[in-house]
Amino acid sequence: MEAVVQLIVFAILLIIGFFFGSNREKKHFKSILERQKKYAHIATRTDKIRDVSPYTEAMLVSGSVVIASDYFKNFLASIKNIFGGRLNSYESLMDRGRRESMIRMKEAAIKWGADEILEVRIESSALDAIGIEMLAYGTAVKRRK
């Protein structure tokens, strides 16, 4: 009896995870695309900057997000883990987290009135048993007019 109840709970969690998880992911990707277009005018660069003469002011800006996978994808990944290979479901999680952090960094830069963001660094770290933290940071600058 107990085993049956456990199985039912497990199935319910899987279904909830599948529907809510994929729905939320779709929505998130849609909003990411919209905001990426909206903020496309802010140039972001990762290269080493030696000459800062075209700029007048600078400020450190950052954006971060802690994101978690859903129950269904976790289950899928745990099965795939046995056989090895690519885990597509986690790839999309990393992708959306990273893009979200970049967008948030851009938002912070726009708020301050930046024209460009220089020497951007992107970093991720796993918060054990919680999710993944994505961090993007760089130097927001104003161009000399």
Binding site: E57, S125, L135
Partner: protein, 104 residues
């Protein structure tokens, strides 16, 4: 305090170097933020409580770095970098470092 990830400060001349300044904080991740995290692990998505927690932690590490630079007589930090690492289950360290300089 001006902070940049670049090795210079726009429109200003660096007149003195003070070397590396650092700031770090270790914070527990389970501090009243876990209530909805369990639920979010079912449906997935952003864990806002943890995003805020990590941001606060990073601010604190930055503040400590700034305090160190101020003590040395610097008014800017260039080449700032951040690093996060899992110290132990349930604890994360945020580390900030950069080069303290004085600009005109």
């Amino acid at each position: 305090m001006i902070m940049t990830t670049v090795e210079a400060v726009p429109d200003k001349k660096i007149v003195a170097h003070f070397g590396i300044v650092t700031g770090s904080t270790v914070r527990s991740k389970h501090f009243g933020r876990d209530i909805f995290a369990g639920l979010k692990n079912i449906i997935g998505g952003e864990l806002k409580g943890y995003t805020e927690l990590m941001e606060e932690t990073r601010d604190e590490a930055t503040e400590r770095m700034v305090a160190q630079a101020t003590k040395l007589g610097a008014n800017a930090i260039i080449g700032v970098r951040y690093a996060t690492s899992d110290v132990a289950p349930g604890a994360a360290e945020v580390f900030a470092y950069g080069t303290a300089v004085k600009v005109e």
